[in-house]
């Protein structure tokens, strides 16, 4: 039987760690992906992901369910990413393309993917990461949450604490920058 997030949260609050482990299994990839796209480094993303779930585990007793569990997790992860960038004084999102490990891509690719496709994808990844690195943090966050996590505008607004219209503006401006950057790269 598959429990909903809310049911698993209730059971976790009751002390059932297995339920919380199920939540971890369900959400660790999205949280890791969010952290990776924010920070641009796999190691950092993994650390932030782990810290996110540790904090959630400690604070699950105080979760009252006003928001979705996933939104609550995203908020923790985004705050950690922000703190991480400030603390580490690292430029977010891959202005260090050498750190992008082609082997990770090779490991993740489909077996039928040719080397040429792999190289093309690798290049494309670098191009996208460079373009994303040029965005201000709030625009990048809005695009990541909308594009890759499929949150609604309202959910993003609640998550980052800004009006709904601001979210749309940030998305529009961010996409406009990306269009320019990606277009310039194609020429």
């Amino acid at each position: 039987m598959t429990w909903s997030d809310e049911e698993l949260v209730t059971r976790s609050i009751g002390g059932d760690a297995d339920s919380f482990n199920q939540l971890v299994l369900r959400w660790e990839r999205p949280i890791y992906a969010l952290a990776y796209r924010q920070l641009g480094r796999e190691e950092d993303a993994r650390d932030v992901c782990q810290e996110t779930f540790l904090r959630a585990f400690r604070a699950i007793g105080g979760f009252r369910g006003q928001a979705k569990f996933s939104s609550w997790l995203y908020r923790i992860a985004l705050n950690l990413c922000r703190d991480w960038v400030r603390r580490q004084r690292r430029t977010p999102v891959v202005q260090m393309p050498e750190d992008v490990d082609a082997m990770e891509l090779a490991a993740a690719r489909e077996p039928s993917e040719s080397i040429e496709d792999l190289v093309a994808r690798h290049d494309l990844t670098r191009v996208v990461e460079r373009a994303m690195a040029k965005l201000p943090e709030e625009q990048r966050t809005a695009i990541i949450l909308k594009e890759y996590h499929e949150l609604t505008f309202q959910e993003i607004a609640d998550l980052v604490g800004c009006p709904l219209s601001t979210v749309k503006t940030r998305l529009y401006q961010g996409l406009a920058v990306l269009r320019r950057e990606l277009g310039a790269n194609n020429q």
Binding site: G15, D16, A17, D18, F20, N21, V24, L25, E28, R29, Y32, A33, Y36, R37, E42, A45, R46, C49, Q50, F53, L54, F57, D101, A102, M103, E104, L105, A106, A107, A108, I115, E116, L118, V119, R121, H122, L124, T125, V128, E129, M132, I143, K146, E147, T152, F153, S165, K168, T169, L171, Y172, L175, A176, L178, R179, R180, L182, G183
Partner: protein
């Protein structure tokens, strides 16, 4: 970037909402109708869709570990813990608790020739008059001593049987337990080696292709540069030739006029 000249109300926000299909039905229909007649909006929509397609191909690398954290139960299940304790130990613990409770409750249990007497209460009974030692009292206590020793023997035999049974099961499990981890270990090591080999091959192939691409690009650049240089040289040479020819012609003209 193209200058947008469309005056649709709140155009950018509506365009983004339409792009992500996060829009009211009425607004969607209205904007759809607008897009059919507005070239700038149609063009920008197509470009932003193209950006989204490109973004969709940006995937983070797979994390090395399958799972990040594994949480232990904060409140261990008492039932499961009790199941791991042998029955005889549970009985001994129960006896201990019973004894402690009895001592607290001033429980008085007597088992003598008159039978089993149990008395409880905080008030201590009046001490009975000392009875003179009866000859053969030791032999009168013999029944409960015998029962106690019988119980003791029974417990010992049960413990022995339990330990023998666990020893037998452990012994029977030993061969499989000794070989399985090795086999499993070898299998996992083989899988890891295969994966590592595959990755190395991929990496080598990737580097080779990149090297080939770089070489090709460099060669192309060099060829272009050489062609340009040859062009310069030819032009210069041709220019010199023209000058020399003009000079010769001039000299011929001068020599003929004289």
């Amino acid at each position: 970037m193209n200058k947008i000249t469309c005056l649709y109300p709140d155009r950018d926000a509506v365009l983004i909402a339409y792009l992500y299909d996060d829009i009211d039905a009425a607004d969607r229909v209205a904007f759809e109708t607008h897009v059919t007649i507005c070239q700038p909006c149609r063009g920008e929509l197509a470009e932003l869709r193209s950006v989204r397609t490109t973004l969709g191909q940006w995937a983070p690398p797979e994390p090395a570990r399958t799972s990040f954290v594994n949480f232990e139960s904060r409140t261990p299940n008492p039932q499961s813990r009790w199941h791991s304790i042998p029955v005889w130990a549970q009985a001994a613990a129960a006896m201990l608790v019973l004894g402690a409770s009895a001592s607290i409750a001033n429980l008085d249990v007597r088992y003598d020739r008159s039978g089993l007497n149990v008395r409880t209460g905080w008030s201590k009974p009046a001490p009975a008059a000392p009875t003179p030692p009866v000859q053969g009292e030791q032999s009168a206590e013999a029944p409960w001593r015998a029962e106690l020793s019988a119980l003791q023997n029974q417990l010992r035999s049960e413990i022995r049987q339990t330990s023998q049974a666990s020893a037998v099961s452990a012994a029977s499990a030993t061969p499989a337990g000794a070989t399985m981890p090795d086999a499993e270990f070898r299998r996992r090591a083989r899988v890891l080696l295969d994966e590592s080999e595959k990755r190395q091959q991929n990496e080598l192939a990737l580097r080779l292709v990149q090297f080939q691409n770089d070489m090709s690009a460099q060669r192309q650049a060099d060829l272009t540069k050489i062609n340009q240089n040859i062009g310069y040289i030819q032009r210069d040479t041709y220019g010199e030739l023209l000058k020399q020819r003009e000079g010769v012609n001039y000299l011929l003209k001068v020599s003929q006029t004289r």
